[in-house]
């Protein structure tokens, strides 16, 4: 249930360089089931030298709500299980762990001396001279009222039409994965005293869509959902900054001055990691499910919109076209358990090949849509356990001869032509004996 994605950065003074990370298999692993990743350093490290590394881990479904069921007026408490020493195949000279909680309400935490708690930060350490693969389990029981919105399944269908439009349809299954709601739901309490009621429930979801989006619809199986707002920003004064809040994630970075002999500092952030990212103008869709979601409640809906083709389809150097799209869920800060992206290429495309920066499963399908003779090729990409860190661009390359654009109009024109010719022939033919 743990799937780690690591992005490494190397800090020398203030510059950071991305290092390559690859998962590897170690046949002689210790009895706990662990995954191994190799970090390739930029320059080989000689004996006596030191480098600093910063490692980012994101885990999903890691916080366990305890108690598992809460009533409307209670706030949500979760367990965080971890080890005070990081699991490392190397000898640890010195280590300090900082755990940052979102609020000062901490029910309990296991002490492993030396342990200190200041405000929202708990400090474990410094621990000296530990052998490799040593673990010391700790847990922290704290209050966490941020909404645990999890998209169970997201199917995103991107249909490319060379007549100038890309139509995107997304099917969501949303669930509140926090402590289950038990007992009475009182509408009066919910609407009047919101600070103390339903603190862990959520009502609004924000989706970020590309600019110049049109024909946005938001509906479910029953019909259109009328509670949504669309704001399209225009690029006013240069760049805008949007804070990306990471939910359900645990990230820590540690700096290693020397792998063999120096001190290490580990920073552990919990549910409070903010990354300020400069972004271009975007459209924002604020959607509200039909009812506020409490623990264990589900909702499903469909969001669809159209995009102009020239923003996303480009021509590559070897005469192939490619679609440059963002891999991911437009809903900000969502964990997606199973993400499926289907790219429907226009009829007559050949040689589809996706290029995605991280490993995904992919296969091809065929889809028969309007005015299709041979069917359209569909490139299906599947990813499990998707977090917003994965939000990067991916490309799908394909070849398309421009003559195929004429296929549909010619088909329609010839159909009507045949029909009219048949009518004319029928009128003028004399079939009497």
């Amino acid at each position: 249930m743990v799937d780690a994605l690591a992005i490494k950065g190397k800090r020398k003074k203030t510059t950071s360089v991305r290092l390559e990370v690859k998962p590897i298999e170690l046949p002689d692993a210790p009895p706990i089931d662990t995954k191994y990743f190799t970090i390739y350093l930029a320059n080989p490290l000689n004996s006596g030298e030191s480098t600093t590394l910063e490692v980012l881990y994101v885990f999903t479904h890691f916080l366990e709500p305890f108690p598992a069921e809460i009533a409307q007026s209670e706030s949500q408490l979760v367990f965080y299980n971890d080890t005070a020493l990081i699991l490392s195949p190397y000898h640890i000279k010195q280590q300090t762990t900082f755990i940052k909680t979102p609020s000062t309400k901490v029910e309990s935490f296991i002490r492993m001396e030396p342990t200190n708690r200041v405000g929202t930060e708990i400090k474990y350490g410094p621990y000296e001279d530990r052998p490799p693969y040593s673990i010391s389990p700790i847990h922290v029981h704290f209050e966490n009222n941020s909404p645990f919105a999890v998209v169970e399944e997201l199917v995103q269908e991107i249909e490319i039409s060379h007549w100038g439009n890309i139509q995107v349809t997304e099917h969501y299954k949303l669930v509140h994965a926090g402590a289950r709601h038990k007992g009475v739901f009182s509408r009066v309490d919910y609407q009047s005293r919101q600070s103390s009621n339903g603190a862990s429930s959520f009502r609004y979801l924000l989706a970020r869509l590309p600019p110049r989006v049109h024909s946005v619809y938001y509906r479910d199986e029953i019909g259109n959902i009328s509670s949504s707002h669309l704001r399209t920003d225009s690029l006013k004064n240069g760049r805008r900054f949007i804070a990306l809040c990471v939910l359900n994630a645990r990230c820590f970075d540690y700096s290693v001055a020397n792998v063999v002999s120096s001190f290490m500092i580990m920073h552990l952030h919990l549910n409070a990691a903010f990354a300020i990212i400069p972004v271009e103008a975007k459209s924002e869709l604020e959607i509200e499910p039909r009812y506020p979601l409490f623990g264990g409640w589900k909702a499903t809906f469909v969001i669809g919109y159209g995009l102009p083709l020239q923003d996303f389809l480009f021509e590559s150097s070897d005469d192939k076209r490619y679609l440059n799209f963002t891999f991911g869920c437009p809903l900000i800060g969502m964990v997606v358990d199973k993400l499926t992206i289907k790219v429907v290429l226009p009829e007559g495309s050949t040689d589809p090949s996706p290029v995605v920066p991280f490993p995904v499963e992919h296969h091809l399908e065929a889809k028969y849509s309007s005015l299709d003779v041979v069917g359209r090729t569909v490139v299906v990409l599947e990813k499990k356990n998707f977090v917003p860190m994965h939000n990067s661009h991916f490309q799908v390359y394909y070849t398309f001869k421009p003559i195929f654009m004429l296929a549909e109009p010619l088909m329609l024109a010839s159909a009507f032509f045949m029909f009219f010719v048949a009518c004319v022939a029928y009128i003028h033919i004399d079939l009497s004996i």
Binding site: V184, S186, I225, R290
Partner: protein, 436 residues
């Protein structure tokens, strides 16, 4: 040989027919209402339903219509219909007498039940069409008459106009029987020719009469224009009625407030919640108005729905809604109900909520279960929910479910639909709990 076969087949067929007719007569004679169902009996005796079958009386489409609803539905035709009836008598033929009978019976039946306004509509259209075309004839004939002017021409024209008006009269009356028109036209034409040959002096007299009956030119032109305007306004009204009055979806309610259109999507919110957050086998009990909606949108089994065929079952639900909590819980438990759906409009002012329909729940329940007596819920002949309400009313399930913790919304419990404060403000639910 052939004849024997023919007689055999014919006699066997006759015997089978007689047997079937005998069975039918036996069936009809054995039922207490001689084969008439409750709804059709209430057409003959409008008080039948309210005395014996309250569920038929409770449907609002079965009530007698009010005068304004006539004007809303057929508008201008309301005063063109009598003119058309008179025009039908002007020559009384088979076709025109059919139209008169049709309009008379449909007016009677639409006066008994509002939904039979549908039956009145074609008859009203036909008769008012007759009246309008007669009026057009008179005006256009006068215009033609005035414009031609010379006397000999007027004689011929008068003869022509008289026969043409006679013909157009027959045409207007016989809109439904074109074959008969074709048949009659040659006969009328031959009659006209005979008239022309033999009755020239009488046509002269007729022409004289016609000249006196013709209207002045200006007034006929203006009247023509006004008639056209009348038709145009009628079309505008019909389009508006179809768009506003008959196309409003009853599930999504809108209201205009100072900051734009406010949409109340509460029905769909409840149905979506039921669809996603309850088990597939859970049963929902509500009043029958919401049965089909719940089945379609929430995808759950309901106890009673809009197909109000099982009167006893609906009476069971009505009894449960009118009983105190413990008795209601037992009824719902025996029906294996998990969720009870109640519509309450007192907070926003939505008038068709379950408290307003409550009187029918009492009547229908009381019709089958005699321990529900309507006078228990009435104070001075009225259903009240304020401090003057009867204790049975204040204890019944519908009151409790609707007003549970209502007083906490504004401190006083003011019901916007009934425009009073509620009677019992602070109470607890012992057998039910609020889940949505």
């Amino acid at each position: 040989m052939f004849k024997v076969a023919v007689t055999l087949v014919v006699s066997v067929g006759l015997a089978v027919c007689c047997a079937v007719i005998a069975v039918l007569i036996a069936l009809v004679a054995s039922s207490p209402t001689k084969g008439w169902s409750g709804r059709s009996l209430s057409l003959l005796d409008p008080t039948y339903a309210s005395k014996y079958i309250p569920i038929i009386a409770s449907v609002s489409e079965h009530q007698p219509p009010t005068w304004p609803s006539y004007f809303m539905d057929i508008n201008v035709l309301a005063f063109l219909v009598p003119a058309g009836i008179i025009a039908c008598f002007l020559p009384l033929s088979d076709a025109s007498s059919f139209v008169v009978l049709y309009i008379a019976t449909s007016v009677y039946f639409s006066g008994v039940m509002v939904r039979l306004m549908l039956v009145l509509a074609p008859a009203a259209c036909i008769t008012s069409g007759i009246a309008l075309s007669q009026a057009f004839d008179v005006f256009t004939g006068s215009i033609k008459f005035q414009l031609t002017g010379a006397s000999s021409n007027t004689e011929v024209d008068a003869a022509e106009t008289s026969s043409s008006t006679a013909e157009s009269q027959t045409d207007a009356v016989k809109t439904e029987k074109p074959e008969e028109t074709a048949k009659n036209r040659p006969s009328r034409k031959s009659k006209k020719k005979e008239r022309e040959h033999g009755e020239k002096p009488s046509t002269k007299a007729k022409a004289e009469k016609k000249r006196l009956l013709a209207l002045p030119l200006e007034s006929s032109v203006i009247s023509l224009l006004l008639l056209v305007l009348l038709g145009a306004f009628y079309v505008v009204h019909c389009v508006w009625a179809a768009a506003e009055a008959y196309s409003a979806p009853s599930i999504v309610l809108t209201s205009r407030s100072h900051d734009g259109l406010h949409v109340f999507d509460d029905f769909r919110e409840a149905y979506a919640w039921l669809r996603h957050n309850t088990d597939v086998d859970d049963k929902v009990a509500s009043w029958w108005d919401y049965g089909y909606q719940t089945t379609a949108m929430a995808n759950r089994t309901v106890i009673v729905d809009n197909n109000t065929w099982n009167n006893t079952h609906i009476a069971t639900v009505g009894t449960a809604m009118s009983s105190p909590e413990r008795a209601a819980w037992e009824i719902f438990h025996s029906l294996d109900v998990k969720y009870v759906l109640v519509v309450f409009g007192g907070l926003v002012g939505y008038p068709s909520d379950d408290i307003n329909k409550f009187l029918w729940m009492v009547r229908i329940g009381g019709g089958v279960f005699p321990h529900i007596k309507e006078p228990d819920y009435l104070r001075d002949g009225q259903y009240r929910i304020d401090s003057q309400a009867t204790p049975t009313m204040l204890n019944c399930l519908m009151y409790k479910l609707s007003y549970y913790r209502f007083v906490e919304t504004d401190g006083k419990g003011f019901d916007r639909v009934r425009q009073t404060e509620i009677g019992k403000k602070y109470f607890k639910l012992t057998h039910f709990e609020e889940v949505r």
